[in-house]
Every structure is written in C-alpha cells, then in structure tokens.
Symmetry: none
Subunit: 220 residues, 2 copies
C-alpha cells in the first residue's frame, strides 16, 4: 500500500502529536498542526484508516498503528538524512534546511536513501540534534561485524572502520573500498586469515587479516 505525499505528511504530523505513537490525537489538533481545517482532516483520517496506518473511531480521535509508526519513521528518517546532507555537504545553515528537506523527504527510492546514508557515514543525529531512525525504523539495531568475522559467500555492506586514521582511509580509497560499498566474501585463507572480497559486484580485493579486522560491515 503506497501513501501519497499528503498522506505521508498527515501521518508524520499524527506521529509527532501522539508522542511516539502512544497517545490518541484529536482531529482539531491535527488540523492545527497541518494548518488546515478540521473538515479536511476528517476526510483524510478516513483514508488513512482505510489504509490501516491509523485506527480511526469517528468522534474519538486516532491512534497510529504499528504499520503507521513504521511509515512515519521512514519519512522522518529521510527528512533528517537530507538535512544532514544539506548542512554537511552543501553548506546550508541549520535553520535553512527544513523547507527543502520537507520536499526531498518524499522522493521515492529506497536505494537512494541507503546510498545517501552511506555517503553521509550513517549519521545518528540530524543538524538539530534529533535522532535519525535506522532502516528498520528505530526498532532493530544493526549488528556490525568485522570483515574477518564474516564467512565465505556472505554479503553485506561496509558501514565503518575501527581505525579511521588518514593512512588507513587513504589505503581504502586507493584499493577502491569505501563506506557504503556492497561487498561479498569470495575466499578466506586458513593459513594467514587473509581474504578475497568482491566490491560492488565488480572489483576483487585481497586484504590481510589485519585490514579485514579494521573494516566493519552489516550483513544483508
């Protein structure tokens, strides 16, 4: 079930008003938050109820459902990642980013958001200090493991390095690995623990155990 831009914005407002999906929210409150009229809100609540992202009892306000919470958190995640991008990469001031992020958050492309997240180095907070939900909507934490702990044929994505010295980052860059790269373990040598890694489905990389132990990945 896909949501329109307007529906996404309502859901986000309801999520915020409900204090993280705990409280009931009234039609009037939503109208105030959305700067619209209660009559328009009633209409929209019916639609959101039909799509089962909220529980709607006429005259008694709404509660957000689990599915709705997930959707809202995804939108919030996108909004905050774009804010980080605008501030860190495009030199926007922290008070200039909201309007633009409000538009950018509705771009539909899971791949785009994954890559953006990698590109920004998996930030945990936006420029206003608000936390950024992870891919799964805050709930699941991603277990990270060092490359040398991965088994042959396992796939994943590089998310961090332990030693982020300039020298090591330079080395990574030189061999064509980077934060966000998709990787697959092709081979592990028993003798010295060195590994053969497929990067982005094209480049093959050989690395010592020491290097592998320095690179953190999530499995996929």
């Amino acid at each position: 079930m896909t949501l329109t831009t307007a529906e996404e914005n309502y859901l986000k407002a309801i999520y915020h008003l409900s204090d993280g999906a705990t409280k009931s929210v009234s039609t009037n409150d939503v109208a105030a938050e959305m700067k619209t009229k209660p009559a328009s809100v009633s209409d929209m609540l019916r639609k959101l109820g039909d799509k089962e992202v909220i529980e709607y009892r006429k005259y008694y306000g709404v509660n957000i459902t689990e599915e709705g919470k997930k959707r809202a958190l995804q939108t919030i995640r996108k909004h905050r990642l774009w804010e980080v991008f605008l501030v860190e990469k495009l030199q926007f001031a922290w008070d200039e980013v909201h309007e633009v992020a409000e538009e950018l958050e509705h771009i539909q492309s899971p791949l785009l958001i994954q890559r953006l997240d990698s590109y920004l180095n998996f930030p945990k907070f936006d420029p206003h200090g608000d936390p950024i939900p992870d891919e799964y909507g805050d709930v699941r934490a991603r277990p990270r493991l060092a490359l040398n702990e991965m088994d042959i044929d396992q796939s994943g994505q590089i998310v961090a390095v332990k030693d982020s010295s300039a020298a090591f980052l330079k080395y990574l860059d030189k061999v064509g690995a980077y934060i966000g790269a998709r990787i697959k373990v092709l081979d592990k040598v028993e003798f010295d623990g060195s590994m053969e890694i497929l990067v982005d489905q094209k480049k093959t990389l050989f690395m010592s155990k020491d290097v592998a132990a320095n690179i953190l990945a999530i499995q996929s």
Copy 2:
C-alpha cells in the same frame, strides 16, 4: 508565475519535441511523449498558453516561447545536475539514475541547485554525455557524430547514446563500453555496416550498424 510539476513535465516534453525550441509540436506528439491522451493535452496546452510559456493556436500545435525555453532549460539543468550527483557521489550506475532524477528535478530551491552545482564542481555534461545548461540556460554542445559515421582509423571518445533505454545501457556495460571511453575505428564491413572498435586501447569490440548508430562520439 510558478509552474506545477505536471506543467514542468509537459514543458520539458514540448522543448525536447521541438528540437530546442525551433519546430512546432502537435497535440498528438505531446500525448505520445507524455503517455497520455490528446484530450488531456489540449487542456494542458490551454493552461501553458495562459501562462505564456508556449504560443498555442488551436488545431495548429504549439511553439515554445522564450520564457518557456528558459523554464524548460532550468528543469533540464536540474535533472542533469542530479544525475551527476547520483553517479559521482552515490555510486549509482548511469542506467539507474533517470527515474530518481525525474523526481528530484522538481524540488523548488534555487539555492539548492546553486550549491549542488558548486559541490559537483560545475560539471558541463551529465553521465550520458548530454550538456548541462548553465544558470542562464546557455548550452555548450560538443559536435557529436554517430559511430557508424566515423571512418576507419579515426579516434574519439564516447560521449552519449541516442537510445538511452535501460536495455541498451545494460548491453553497453556488458560489452565494456561506457561514456568517456576512448575508441578507435579498426574496421567497417561494407556489406552490413558492422564495425570493429578498439576500446581504451585494449578491448576489441564488434558491433552491428544499428548499435553503432546509437552511440555518439566526439572526434579527437
């Protein structure tokens, strides 16, 4: 006068169909390009005419105005800048960017585009080799010719493709050709127009005349 997303898309289509604002464009052609019905197009042409971005004479098709051309080029500029961003910064493949750029191009923020341009180092061409109009809508085109128009022993560089369908881009990728590849014509078969191309001074590639006609290059 602001344009809606739909209006921007129509204007872009009309600009493309009119070969850079020179030819008249028929209602039917616009309908085909936009994958919509002529009746819907008539309606939209009336609106675009009212906003003076096109000159609309009923039953005689439309011509784009100076103002319309400027608007269309601004949209194209945004589209191509985003494509560069996706490929250079987010490691998208050049055949994955179009759909997402189609959404991103409608984000309204002149500051965003200025900053993006500067962040990308003021690129002149997008990943498909198409020129990026500057802030004022000026385009610096390179003289390009199709591979099948090149003679034996001529050298050059691939800069664009005519048919940028995912299927064709995928094919190119598979055979090891890409935008920016340096090429040299080793042989042309009189009988069927097929060609033998040296890519990057190492790989030799055989291609039919149809494929060659689809690949644009600049001579060097």
